[in-house]
């Protein structure tokens, strides 16, 4: 992909982000914070690439450390979100 394509994707994604976040109900703003936290750990992709690569051992260990940190976030973020969301219940009728 060339730069301009990526840039276009980024601009459109910003619009999507703007709209989708405004569509979140205020009652779920706390779970919103924790789930965005979890998904921002998608930088684990970069961490995996670094830890998979041969060549520089320092780079590899930095990658592995990043993998650990990102997975704390991923698992912790999704789990705590799930825990919170499970508490939101409708009235039983």
């Amino acid at each position: 992909m060339d730069f301009i394509a990526i840039f276009s994707i980024f601009i459109l994604a910003c619009f999507v982000g703007y709209f989708v976040v405004w569509s979140v109900t205020p009652a779920l703003h706390t779970p919103l914070m924790s789930v965005t936290n979890a998904i921002s750990s998608v930088i684990i992709v970069g961490a995996l690439i670094a830890s998979a690569a041969a060549g520089s051992p320092v780079s590899k260990w930095l990658g592995l450390a990043a993998v650990v940190m990102a997975s704390v976030n991923i698992f912790g973020g999704f789990a705590v979100t799930e825990r919170m969301l499970a508490m939101y219940k409708k009235k039983e009728r």
Binding site: M1, I6, A13, G17, V20, V21, S23, V24, T25, P26, A27, L28, H29, T30, P31, L32, M33, V35, T36, N37, I39, S40, S41, V42, I43, I44, V45, G46, L48, I49, A50, S51, A52, A53, A54, G55, S59, L62, G63, L64, A66, V68, M69, A70, S71, V72, N73, F75, G76, G77, F78, E82, R83, M84, L85, M87, K89, K90, K91, E92
Partner: protein, 486 residues
């Protein structure tokens, strides 16, 4: 379209085909993240949304593992497993009232991970495909990498301070360095200048100086901000962590990261905006720091005349509410501090049993975090369809018999509507003063809220002050209701 996609992928060679499929997979992951946030538009769809988020992450991780040869799979999978265990244990054990700290802690990890990835990419650019054969990193990649590491480092050090302040490990009071604006501006200018210089000289010292300065500015920026303003800071750092991910996405040409970055960046920015708007303060004034020294200090109370007010007991409250037809409960920060949500729910249940119509009214910035009250009430099993946002319930106060305000203060202060000199002037307010009777639970007449101002509702004829800890008071009312019922 997917048909032609198939064709084009099939037509190309095997390596390209794998690349195309990986790109599709990352796009799908990005779309799943969009659907994850979309799910939060209502509690009913929210859990499905969270599943979409998990699936998107799984797709992104698996795609990366499949398209890169692992030098040592055991290490990588082990690292993931270690992180998983720590994360899940943290998520299980954390108290709901500690969510702000948890989010700050998680952010610091995202920031540090971004720094580590950017550093790894700098040390081994070939593995990331961002260098030519001579080992020269591409110009665009240098900028992206510089931005990525700077934002990541700021996110890390800022979040650490936010965590320490929120968790009480560090005084919530703003720490004002002399000349701080000069130091900050100098450091910022240094970072920007060095990132620009980095495009011409990829020496390690440039890279590491940018990193160091960025860690420093993160500390410097957050230290002068008061503990009570931390939620805005946490949101802002959330936004930063998104932009850091997006910058890495540019480097790696990875759609999933770019989409996520934009989503998270937008989310943090919008939440900060919502908080500032609902507090009627400018974002700049929050970030410039120094306001809201400590949550419960009450220092800003100002000139307090001795005005008459009416005290009441738990028994009075129980009697008044059990006689009422409609009761609206307004919870605030004090309810969270006192962990009174379960007792409150019990109280509401008893009232409902006596035929009282009970609703909850939530102000957009009640508590210290967006959605703070909602998640606590949900924890106490209050059904979310009894909980109403400000605009949906505000005109019902005029018809209600009792407004039961528990640990809330600023969000009920009519000065926001009338007093142009008030620091909260212009902020939307729950109109509790229109109710026939107002019951106010707080610990003392002296204690003020976040904004540090007095509240005229305390001194109105129809108001009864129930002084005491929120949880204790709610428990006492429950007892009185039970006693009265027999």
């Amino acid at each position: 379209m997917s048909f032609s996609l198939l064709l084009s992928a099939g037509a190309a060679g095997d390596a390209t085909s794998a690349q195309t499929w990986a790109a599709v997979a990352y796009l799908v992951a990005g779309v799943f993240f969009i659907l994850a946030l979309r799910g939060l538009s209502s509690p009913a769809s929210s859990r499905r949304g969270n599943r979409f988020g998990m699936a998107g992450m799984a797709i992104a991780v698996v795609t990366t593992l499949l398209t890169h040869e692992l030098a040592n799979p055991v290490e990588v999978l082990g690292a993931i497993a270690i992180g998983a265990v720590i994360g899940i244990v943290m998520a299980r054990k954390i108290a709901m009232t500690a969510m702000p700290q948890l989010v700050a802690a998680f952010h610091s990890l995202v920031g540090l991970a971004a720094v580590a990835v950017a550093a790894a990419a700098f040390l081994n650019p070939g593995a990331f495909g961002i260098a030519d054969e001579a080992g020269q990193i591409f110009t665009v990649s240098r900028i992206e990498m510089g931005l990525g590491i700077a934002i990541g480092a700021i996110t890390f050090s800022g979040s650490v301070i936010a965590f320490l302040k929120l968790n009480g490990n560090m005084s919530g009071a703003p720490i004002m360095l002399p000349l701080r604006h000069v130091i900050n501006l100098g450091t910022l200018a240094g970072i920007i200048g060095l990132v620009a210089y980095f495009t011409t000289d990829q020496s390690p010292w440039v890279f590491w100086t940018v990193t160091g300065l960025s860690f420093l500015i993160g500390f410097l920026l957050i230290i002068p901000i008061g503990g009570a303003d931390m939620p805005v800071v946490v949101s802002m750092l959330n936004s930063y962590s998104g932009w850091a991910a997006a910058a890495m996405g540019f480097t790696l040409h990875n759609t999933a990261m770019i989409i996520t970055g934009a989503l998270v960046g937008a989310s943090g920015a919008i939440l900060s905006y919502i908080m500032c708007r609902a507090m009627n303060r400018s974002f700049i004034s929050v970030i410039a720091g120094g306001f809201g020294a400590d949550d419960s200090s009450g220092a800003g109370g100002g000139a307090k005349e001795q005005r008459p007010w009416k005290p009441g007991s738990a028994d009075d409250a129980a009697f008044l509410m059990s006689q009422a037809e409609n009761v609206i409960i307004v919870p605030g920060y004090g309810m969270a501090v006192a962990q009174a949500q379960h007792a409150l729910r019990e109280m509401a249940d008893l009232l409902k049993k006596e035929g009282v119509n009970v609703k909850y009214a939530i102000h957009p910035v009640a508590g210290r975090m967006p959605g703070h009250m909602n998640v606590l009430l949900a924890e106490a099993n209050v059904p979310y369809d009894e909980v109403f946002e400000l605009e949906d319930i505000n005109n019902e106060f005029a018809q209600c018999d009792v407004a039961f305000v528990i640990g809330a203060n600023d969000v009920t202060n009519p000065a926001a509507k009338t007093d142009k000199t008030s620091p909260i002037y212009g902020m939307p307010i729950l109109d509790v003063e229109k109710a026939k009777t107002v019951l106010f639970v707080k610990r003392s007449m002296g204690g003020v809220g976040y904004a540090g101002v007095d509240n005229d509702v305390f001194y109105m004829d129809q108001t009864m002050m129930l002084l005491g800890d929120a949880k204790k008071m709610a428990d006492d009312i429950v007892k009185a209701l039970n006693g009265g019922g027999h």
